[in-house]
């Protein structure tokens, strides 16, 4: 029963935390339309505008955000600068981060979907295959190794950046061990999971130590998502540089907290310079 | 506030060594500041530039644009650089006691 309680608690923290996090972001206004443009604007008829890289409609901006969230568009631009005598810089395409990150996220998502078979009966989908599992581990290893091997990344990495990696590694390796080597009674796991899903929790029976490791690490991971950088999963959809259309001159963006400007008025200005303006023959409002 | 001293006379200047109070300017001041600008001696040519700058400043509250200095003093830009090695906007303006122009120029 303690096991179920921990799983519930983690899930509750995740849900409440996510709601809190998303509400906290959503409450804060977007005061200015600060779209970041990565292509030609829509202006003259004869000039082809980049509807995806510089969208001027909300639909275009939604596509741009989707491309960012699903295919990591911006990482795909990545390059690595090298400084050579001359002085000269060359910028080599550097797609390893894009590929590694995509591999990791796709495999993780796939494996997660595979887990649904424990929670629905009859299972609609089978588990992820061994290639996906291998991909997940490879992706994780890549994300970890680049942080320790690349001096620049090692320098900018915080201790707290290793925590999610450690949790993920624990979850993934324990799961993979259970699945391929130290088989756990899948039916028992399913009974436990179904109990959770139907709010009739039962204690897991006939599962090994690995199962507990897997479950507790996964619980910890899930519970920390809203409170750590893992919140990027939701954050990417909120980013105003990507999700706003670039049409600020065509449509006014309203700022809810703006007060009118305290402008130095024309009258005050003319008062200061009137004599000199008169001599120069400039038109005056008051003589 | 930084100070600039020459021949025992002390002036309040800004961070770039420009005279703080342009109203305190006179010909002695010009000679004193010329010393800080690699101008060993104020010749007539120097005075033509300095007086033009000074008069323009008194009329308009700002240094004239370089193009105008060139045209109205009759000196080529290279000649002005010969007179004032750090140029019309810096050296010559400093000697003429004008504040340094700040902005995208």
């Amino acid at each position: 029963m303690v096991t179920a309680a921990i799983a519930y608690l983690a899930f509750a923290i995740f849900v409440a935390g996510t709601v809190w996090r998303v509400v906290a972001w959503a409450r804060v206004p977007v005061p200015f339309p600060i779209a970041l443009t990565c292509g030609q604007q829509k202006s003259l008829d004869g000039i082809r505008a980049a509807w995806l890289e510089n969208p001027w409609t909300p639909a275009g901006a939604a596509c741009r955000t989707a491309l960012e969230a699903l295919l990591f568009r911006s990482l795909f631009r990545n390059s690595r600068a090298q400084f050579l005598p001359g002085p000269r810089f060359i910028y080599r395409p550097a797609l390893s981060l894009w590929a590694g990150a995509l591999l990791f996220h796709v495999c993780l998502f796939w494996v997660w979907i595979g887990h649904l078979r424990f929670f629905v009966d009859p299972a609609l989908l089978g588990p992820a295959n061994r290639f996906v599992d291998a991909g997940l581990l490879a992706g994780l290893a890549f994300l970890f190794l680049r942080r320790v091997l690349d001096p620049r990344l090692r320098y900018l990495t915080l201790l707290s950046d290793y925590l999610p990696l450690a949790l993920l590694a624990t979850v993934a390796s324990s799961g993979i061990l259970m699945r391929w080597w130290f088989h756990t009674d899948a039916a028992a796991v399913k009974r436990f999971a179904l109990g959770l899903a139907t709010f009739h929790p039962i204690a897991p029976v006939g599962v090994g130590l690995l199962f507990y490791v897997h479950l507790f690490a996964a619980s910890a991971l899930v519970a920390t998502i809203p409170f750590t950088k893992l919140a990027h999963i939701a954050g990417v959809f909120f980013s105003p540089t990507r999700n706003l259309p670039n049409r600020s001159r065509a449509r006014r963006h309203v700022n809810p907290w703006l007060a009118p400007a305290q402008v130095h008025t024309y009258a005050e200005w003319e008062d200061e310079f009137r004599d000199r303006m008169r001599v120069a023959g400039l038109p005056l409002e008051r003589q | 506030m930084p100070k600039y001293e020459h021949d025992g006379r002390i002036y309040e200047v800004d961070e770039d060594g420009f005279l703080q109070e342009p109203d305190l300017w006179n010909e002695t001041v010009a000679r004193d500041f010329a010393a800080s600008e690699d101008v060993p001696e104020m010749t007539d040519a120097h005075w033509v530039v300095v007086n033009y700058l000074r008069n323009y400043y008194l009329q308009f509250g700002i240094a004239p644009m370089v193009r105008k200095v060139v045209k109205e003093t009759g000196f080529k830009l290279t000649q002005i650089y010969e007179l004032f090695p750090s140029g019309p906007a810096k050296g010559a303006c400093k000697v003429a006691g004008l504040p340094k122009p700040t902005g995208c120029v």
Partner: protein
């Protein structure tokens, strides 16, 4: 101050320090920071804590309760800017942005990596605003706000040109420029700003432009320009000031009325607008398109910007045409309508020459001169003789703000292709949305900041050198007043033999004005070759 030589500055060490982040605080080495804002300017603007101080001073004469002021300021801004809040929360430190900043490329200083620049603020955010940071401190990447941290903010947030290049590469669109803007607002709350920003702002508040050109001087300059065009072409163009009833208000960065080579761009505007028979006026009150207020706070940006619509209303024009300037267009495009709109007294802009409706500007009623002239050229309304620019092999530098804050990429290129025979692009990683900053934007162009500017501009200069070597490029065209002020020095320093010009200068050179006499020279007074 002896300026360091290029071969000294290219000794860049990219190896990060052994000591872990954050390491020692900022070192205020001469040549790498700007003078502090002068008290008289702060007083004139009503900004907090005017005093006599300089960044290397040990005592910054902060208000007694400076920490509370800053933390409270941060709290307010976390409630006002979703960008700020979000960007504090979601960075995963993937490092994609790290080598995208020209200041990092030019200095090798790890705190110039955008991720760590933002981390300067983020660490304080964690400490005071997140449960993990409050509880775990250093373990959670949090740190106390101390005077040394504040000094580090000052050094590194006045070493960011708000160019937004980092954001292009960030998988979450984190825009360090937004972080810098907030950081500068916070610094300003306790009176920590630089004079190269606050002096133009004070000038602009008073006289209407950054340089402090007074109305009669403004008129004098325009008259001078009109005379010069008459000498050159035999045509007397009209340049009215504060004329009521004109159809269009033309606003340009004030450097165009003052600086070199900006002034030649002014000549170009005057010639094009004359040839197109546009009914327009300048304003001496709204004589600044640029907006250094943006580099202080949103409030000051709004205050300075308000003059443009106010003047458009007073003069009774139909719409606003804007000159060549980068950050000016960031403001006019993305902020003006929100800050000081809606301009319901104006009309959606229509070109009086071609009848083109600028529907992309129908609400803000402000059109970029490159859009306007490109439309003229596309409709064949201007006769251009590109051979007059044959002494130049031209490349184009996209300014950060028009490229990444607007997407004005093709219009200037269309003009250059029409006005010059020899036009060459720099490498693709250095142009358009990936363009590299001049290194002097966002108010960092002071002479005293020389080393930082030369370092920050090195990646741009290196790209120019490449096209110079490959195609003999000897002129860089741009559409930004800060570029025109900073790039001549930068290119002299790193490349040599490359001049800088505004796009409209080249258009002005090539433009055949109806009834003009044969020109002896180009706009600079140099012989056509």
């Amino acid at each position: 101050m002896a300026e360091p030589k290029p071969d000294e500055l290219v000794q860049i060490d990219y190896a990060p320090p052994h000591a872990p982040w954050p390491g020692p605080g900022a070192q205020f080495r001469k040549g790498t920071y700007s003078h502090a804002g002068a008290a008289k300017n702060l007083k004139y603007l009503g900004l907090p804590n005017p005093r006599d101080w300089q960044p290397p001073d040990a005592d910054w004469k902060l208000p007694e309760n400076w920490r509370e002021i800053v933390i409270q300021g941060m709290r307010e801004r976390l409630e006002k800017y979703r960008s700020f809040r979000l960007f504090m929360d979601i960075c995963v430190r993937c490092g994609a942005c790290a080598d995208k900043c020209h200041f990092y490329l030019g200095t090798g200083d790890p705190r110039n990596m955008p991720v760590l620049r933002a981390e300067l603020l983020r660490s304080v955010y964690r400490r005071y605003f997140t449960p993990a940071g409050r509880a775990l401190g250093r373990l959670a990447g949090a740190r106390d706000l101390t005077v040394d941290v504040l000094k580090e903010w000052f050094y590194y947030f006045y070493q960011c040109t708000e160019c937004r290049r980092c954001s292009v590469y960030c998988p979450f669109g984190i825009d360090t420029a937004e972080v810098t803007m907030v950081a500068r607002e916070l610094l300003n709350l306790v009176g920590c700003n630089i004079n190269w920003i606050v002096e133009p702002v004070a000038n602009c508040q008073r006289t209407g432009n950054h340089l402090g050109i007074q109305p009669h001087g403004f008129k004098d300059t325009l008259d001078f320009a009109v005379d010069e065009i008459a000498e050159l072409t035999g045509i007397r163009v009209e340049a009215s000031v504060n004329r009521k009833g004109a159809e269009i208000l033309f606003v340009a960065p004030s450097a165009d009325f003052y600086g070199t080579p900006h002034y030649y761009t002014l000549l170009g505007y005057l010639m094009v607008l004359h040839e197109a028979r546009v009914d327009y006026t300048f304003s001496a009150y709204a004589s600044e398109g640029g907006n250094f207020g943006m580099f202080v706070s949103h409030e000051l940006m709004q205050r300075l910007n308000a003059k443009i619509y106010a003047e458009a209303r007073r003069l009774g024009v139909k719409w606003v045409l804007g000159g060549e300037c980068g950050h000016m267009w960031r403001v006019l495009h993305q902020y003006m309508n929100t800050l000081n709109g809606p301009p319901d007294f104006l009309e959606p802009p229509v070109s009086p020459v071609t009848g083109t409706v600028f529907s992309n500007a129908r609400s803000a009623c402000a059109v970029h001169i490159c859009e306007f002239t490109a439309d003229l050229v596309a409709h064949g309304k201007l006769r251009l003789e590109p051979a007059r620019n044959d002494r130049f092999a031209v490349t184009f530098h996209d300014s950060c703000n028009t490229a990444r804050g607007m997407g004005l990429l093709e219009e200037p290129r269309l003009l250059l292709r029409a006005a010059c025979n020899r036009f060459f692009e720099m490498p693709e990683n250095t142009i358009r949305e990936r363009t590299l900053c001049c290194g002097s934007g966002a108010g960092l162009g002071g002479d005293e900041n020389f080393e930082t500017r030369m370092r920050g501009g090195l990646p741009r200069a290196a790209a120019v050198r490449q096209v110079k070597e490959a195609h003999g490029v000897n002129l860089l065209a741009c559409i930004c007043a800060i570029d025109k002020a900073s790039l001549p020095k930068l290119l002299d320093y790193w490349v040599g033999g490359v001049e800088v010009a505004g796009v409209h200068e080249l258009v002005g050179n090539a433009l055949v004005i109806e009834g003009e006499k044969p020109r002896a020279t180009d706009l600079r007074g140099e012989a056509y070759v």
